[in-house]
């Protein structure tokens, strides 16, 4: 039993560290907020954090297979533009619209997956190119910002539950329960971890590599489109913004790393990435609370990010054999 605990701790070290760091940072933030931690402050913070957390989950699924998805931000933007056109009107129309947006996300992810699996192209190059295509489609849907979304649904998902709990946190919990946990516990999820740590060994052991990759990329597209949907619920409009797409892609990588997911694949979890995303957002909020001059905020955010990724190198101190440094 003792051994189990030690193993569990070691396996989830990254996630736990991210969780602890987030709790510390958020406590400092809440304690120093001029208005205190009231429901409105929490809801605004939660909405921003959950949006990035969903994109980070999408990125995690692909990173676990030792790939990288540079199109997540663009899929999000595409979903945002699509949702602002079709997720509006009567409840039935909205429902169909939401389904359409999610289906589009799945298709985008599946296309990425198919090109990587059957085209045998590197994920990084593939998703750069498909990202351009998805952005082009988003631009075709919405040449100028605008559109609308079902306000009742948007308010329900971005507002507060009875008791003042931000509804977005419930959304995030449901996503974890419906998408991440089933994936993590399924044979396909195991296969994704296996191929992430050694693709050739997984292939030799008869692990269904292709199916695992396909599912990982498709679910990643699905989650990215959910983020786009959520963005629409927050902003009530659709905008084909390349800057937004690029920024969310880069932030998602940062969140994944802060959350203890290895970019080499095969270790980490989406839960860690979620806390990484929340932590990344809290850094920005902390700078605001401490009255750092707005001009200096981007620099501090960059320096904190640089320091955080350098902290990961503490593990080097434990390496005895220098050869272990070179993979």
């Amino acid at each position: 039993m003792n051994g189990d605990w030690a193993y569990w701790l070691r396996e989830h070290k990254g996630t736990l560290l991210a969780f602890a760091a987030f709790v510390v940072m958020f406590t400092i933030y809440a304690a120093n907020h001029p208005m205190g931690l009231n429901a409105n402050v929490a809801t605004t913070a939660a909405n921003k954090g959950v949006l990035l957390a969903i994109v980070a989950m999408a990125q995690t699924l692909v990173v676990l297979t030792s790939g990288i998805d540079l199109s997540v931000g663009m899929v999000m933007v595409l979903a945002n533009c699509l949702a602002s056109s079709i997720a509006v009107g009567s409840p039935l129309a909205t429902g169909l619209g939401v389904a359409g947006v999610l289906l589009t996300g799945c298709v985008c992810g599946a296309v990425n997956g198919l090109i990587v699996i059957y085209g045998r192209l590197q994920p990084i190059v593939t998703t750069i190119a498909t990202g351009a295509v998805y952005y082009g489609i988003a631009l075709a849907l919405r040449p100028v910002p605008g559109g609308d979304v079902n306000a009742a649904l948007a308010d329900a998902l971005t507002g507060q539950l009875p008791g003042g709990v931000p509804a977005s946190l419930a959304v995030l919990l449901i996503l974890v329960a419906v998408v991440w946990l089933p994936f993590r516990r399924s044979a396909i999820g195991r296969a994704a971890y296996a191929l992430g740590s050694s693709e050739i060994a997984a292939y030799m052991s008869g692990v269904p590599i292709r199916r695992a990759k396909f599912v990982a990329y498709t679910l990643s597209g699905l989650l990215a489109s959910m983020a786009g949907l959520f963005l629409t619920f927050i902003t009530y409009t659709g905008e084909a913004s390349a800057a937004n797409g690029g920024a969310y892609t880069l932030y998602s990588i940062a969140a994944v790393v802060l959350g203890g997911v290895s970019l080499f694949g095969g270790s980490g979890s989406a839960i860690g990435a979620i806390f990484g995303a929340l932590m990344f957002r809290t850094i920005g909020d902390l700078l605001f609370v401490f009255n750092v001059e707005p001009l200096w905020q981007p620099l501090f955010q960059g320096l904190v990010l640089l320091a955080a990724v350098c902290l990961g190198s503490v593990r080097l101190l434990r390496i005895r054999n220098r050869l272990d440094l070179y993979g």
């Binding site: 990288i68 090109i115 085209g119 045998r120 192209l121 590197q122 990084i124 190059v125 593939t126 750069i128 190119a129 498909t130 990202g131 351009a132 295509v133 952005y135 082009g136 489609i137 988003a138 631009l139 075709a140 040449p143 050739i200 292939y203 590599i209 800057a243 690029g246 880069l250 990588i253 940062a254 790393v257 970019l263 080499f264 001009l295 200096w296 905020q297 981007p298 620099l299 501090f300 955010q301 960059g302 320096l303 990010l305 640089l306 990724v309 350098c310 990961g312 190198s313 080097l316 050869l323 440094l325 070179y326 993979g327």
Partner: protein, 322 residues
């Protein structure tokens, strides 16, 4: 006899480079069906001039990709190069002389930070360059106060970016040629270059063979930073001032150009001639799509589809069974 020689030639030419040059010809042919001016020397020289900026930046990206790493800090290192060079111009006569070295020097400094992170702290290059990009952005926001910088570029910057020398050859093209020749020499004729390829193939083996891998990695990232910043200096000279997001449109095209030119994104394999082909191809593609007055969304879609299609033709990885 003839067949023997042909076979020899065929074996020496990398199929990827042949394909890339073939695609350039194809793009030009398609363009000339639309308008005969696509084949005019003026148009082609103009395109080569525009390609020079991407070419200089892609040279740095290529060196890092040959290591098996990637440099995502291109956008803001380009901006740092342009902004610091114009800021130096604002200091007065001494600053005007120092403008270009100052811009490049800042790029080297940022490259060294990325390089140290990769070589000594063993952080994945994708992450550390991302962080350096964020720091560079923060520095420039503080430096400019969030506004577009007002300083103009120095006369020397304008001359190398927009001037023409004899026979009407744009100076920018000459600059790219010089950078290219230096890069080819560095990659194929020096210990540094051979070690870059060796590290890209297997870093462990390179280390065990006595190569000073850490220094080489640092140097490669410093070089990439220098070339990105130099690209920024050229761009600032071209537009006669620097701007906040001036580097954003260069990250993905630079990587795409290197990969389309047959350099493996996993490192260790690729030649500069391919990168030249990739840069020209990307520039022509962007130019022709905009001359054809295709809507912006169509340009993005075509651009992405063409890259995927070309890589599917010649850039595919190995099967598991190989």
């Amino acid at each position: 006899m003839v067949g023997n020689v042909l076979g020899k030639i065929r074996r020496r030419i990398d199929p990827a480079i042949a394909w890339a040059f073939g695609c350039i010809v194809l793009v030009l042919l398609i363009g000339s069906l639309y308008s005969s001016s696509f084949l005019s020397p003026e148009y082609l020289l103009q395109q080569l001039k525009v390609a020079s900026f991407l070419g200089v930046i892609a040279t740095g990206a290529m060196i890092v990709i040959l290591l098996g790493q990637i440099d995502l800090s291109v956008p803001w290192v380009v901006a740092v190069g342009g902004m610091m060079a114009t800021a130096a111009t604002g200091w007065g006569p001494v600053g005007e002389i120092l403008a270009i070295p100052v811009g490049i020097g800042c790029g080297i400094a940022l490259g060294l930070v990325s390089g140290a992170g990769v070589a000594f702290l063993r952080i994945p290059s994708m992450v550390v360059t991302l962080a350096v990009n964020a720091v560079a952005q923060g520095l420039m926001v503080v430096h400019t106060g969030g506004f577009s910088p007002q300083d103009a570029s120095s006369p020397a910057m304008r001359v190398i970016a927009t001037g023409q020398s004899l026979l009407g050859i744009p100076n920018a093209l000459l600059v790219w040629t010089a950078v290219g020749i230096a890069a080819v020499f560095l990659l194929t004729r020096t210990t540094f270059g051979r070690t870059v390829y060796a590290i890209g193939n297997r870093e462990r083996a390179a280390y065990l063979s006595g190569a000073r891998t850490r220094l080489i990695v640092m140097a490669a990232f410093a070089l990439s930073g220098a070339l990105s910043a130099f690209g920024g200096v050229l761009l600032a000279g071209y537009a006669s001032k620097a701007a906040q997001a001036m580097g954003d449109p260069y990250l993905l095209p630079a990587i795409a150009a290197v990969v389309l030119g047959g350099t493996s994104i996993l490192g260790g394999r690729g030649s500069y001639l391919g990168t030249v082909a990739g840069v020209i191809l990307i520039t022509l593609l962007q130019s022709i799509l905009s001359v054809m007055q295709m809507e912006e969304f169509g340009r993005h879609v075509t651009y992405g589809v063409v890259i995927i299609a070309m890589l599917l033709i010649y850039g595919r990885g190995k099967r598991y069974s190989e």
